[in-house]
C-alpha cells in the first residue's frame, strides 16, 4: 500500500489526496505527522515552509526516513490558525517562528511563538501578498 492509502485507512474523516508526488491533507496535521513519525519511520523533519496564495496559506512539511531512505511531503492549507507540531518534532520550533514572522500564521500549542527575523516592534507580516509598505520613488 502506498503512504496516502495507509493514511486514508487510519484517518477516515480526513480528506487525503496525492498530487504531484506530494500528499495533500485537509486537517488533523498534528496526528498525521505523529503517525508518520512513530509508525511509518519518517522521524526527521527536513523543512517546513509556507506559500501565500491570497485565499489561503499553503504549509509544506518535508519528512525523511533515514532507515527507508525515503522522502515524503505533506501539504496542508490554513488561513490564520493551525496546530503546532513542536510536540512531535522539536525542530519545528524555529520554522514555525519564521512562518509566524513572515506570514502571520498562529500556531496554537507553540509556547514562546515570537518574531525571528524582523524586529519586535515591526507591524505586519512582510511576505504576505497583502503587505503594504512605504516604497521609495523609482528613478527613471
Amino acid at each position: 500500500m502506498s503512504i496516502p492509502e495507509i493514511l486514508q485507512n487510519k484517518f477516515l474523516n480526513t480528506k487525503i489526496l496525492e498530487e504531484k508526488g506530494k500528499i495533500f491533507v485537509e486537517n488533523n496535521i498534528k496526528e498525521i505527522l505523529s503517525h508518520l513519525k512513530t509508525d511509518l519511520g519518517f522521524d526527521m523533519l527536513l523543512s517546513l515552509y509556507a506559500t501565500d496564495y491570497r485565499d489561503f496559506i499553503e504549509l509544506n512539511y518535508c519528512l525523511y526516513s533515514p532507515v527507508k531512505q525515503e522522502y515524503v511531503t505533506i501539504i496542508t492549507h490554513v488561513t490564520s490558525n493551525t496546530d503546532s507540531v513542536t510536540e512531535v518534532f522539536k525542530s519545528a520550533y524555529f520554522d514555525e517562528c519564521e512562518i509566524y514572522d513572515m506570514f502571520g500564521v498562529n500556531f496554537t500549542g507553540n509556547n514562546n511563538l515570537k518574531r525571528l527575523l524582523m524586529p519586535d516592534y515591526w507591524k505586519g507580516h512582510p511576505l504576505l501578498k497583502s503587505y503594504e509598505y512605504k516604497k521609495e520613488a523609482v528613478y527613471e
Binding site: 524582523m118 515591526w122 512582510p126 503587505y131 509598505y133 512605504k134 516604497k135 521609495e136 520613488a137 523609482v138
Partner: protein
C-alpha cells in the same frame, strides 16, 4: 644638528592620518572585498591601516561594509557611540550609501547609513574594488590632514548628537 619646524596640529594630524585603524564590521559581500584589500595583493598596510581591531574602543575608522537592515541599525549606532574620538566612517558599497539595489523595493533595508551615523566618505559600487577602497582611504587621510585642532569640540558634539532618522521611513 638639524632643526625641524612645524606645528603641533600638523604633527598630530600626520600621526592620525597614517595610522587609521579600522573596525572589523562586515555585514555582507563588501566585507570580502575589505578582506582582499587587507591581504598582500593590495596591502592596505602601505597606508597604515592594516590593524583591524575587534573592539570599537580601539578603532579609529568604521568601514561599514555591507547592507544595514532596520534590525541592525540600533546595533550600528551603539558600536559607533562606543568608538573613541577622533572617529571616522567610510560607507562602503551601494547598500550603505543609498540602499543600492534594495532601495526602490525593500521593506527591511535602511536607505543609506547617513540616517543612522555621520559619514565622512561615501564609496558606492557593488561591491567596490580594493583599489576604490584604497582611494577612499587616501581621500579620508587628506581630510584628516586638513582638520583644525580647535574644531575638535564641535566635531565631538556633532558626532554625539547626530540624529537617527531611519525610523521615519517605516512609520
Amino acid at each position: 644638528m638639524t632643526i625641524i619646524l612645524t606645528t603641533v596640529e600638523k604633527v598630530i594630524n600626520w600621526g592620525r592620518a597614517n595610522s587609521l585603524w579600522p573596525l572589523t564590521f562586515g555585514t555582507s559581500c563588501c566585507s570580502i572585498e575589505m578582506m582582499q584589500t587587507t591581504a598582500s595583493d593590495f596591502d592596505i598596510a602601505r597606508f597604515g591601516s592594516e590593524v583591524y581591531r575587534n573592539s570599537p574602543r580601539q578603532a579609529d575608522l568604521l568601514i561599514c561594509a555591507g547592507t544595514i537592515t532596520y534590525k541592525m541599525a540600533p546595533v550600528l549606532r551603539k558600536i559607533y557611540d562606543q568608538m573613541a574620538e577622533p572617529k571616522y566612517v567610510i560607507a562602503m558599497g551601494a547598500c550603505t550609501c543609498s540602499g543600492g539595489m534594495f532601495a526602490p523595493d525593500s521593506y527591511s533595508v535602511v536607505k543609506g547609513i547617513d540616517k543612522i551615523i555621520p559619514v565622512d566618505i561615501f564609496l558606492p559600487m557593488c561591491p567596490p574594488r580594493p583599489e576604490a577602497l584604497l582611494d577612499a582611504l587616501i581621500k579620508l587621510q587628506n581630510k584628516v590632514k586638513a582638520e583644525k585642532f580647535a574644531d575638535r569640540k564641535n566635531r565631538m558634539k556633532y558626532h554625539s548628537e547626530y540624529p537617527m532618522t531611519y525610523m521615519e521611513d517605516i512609520k
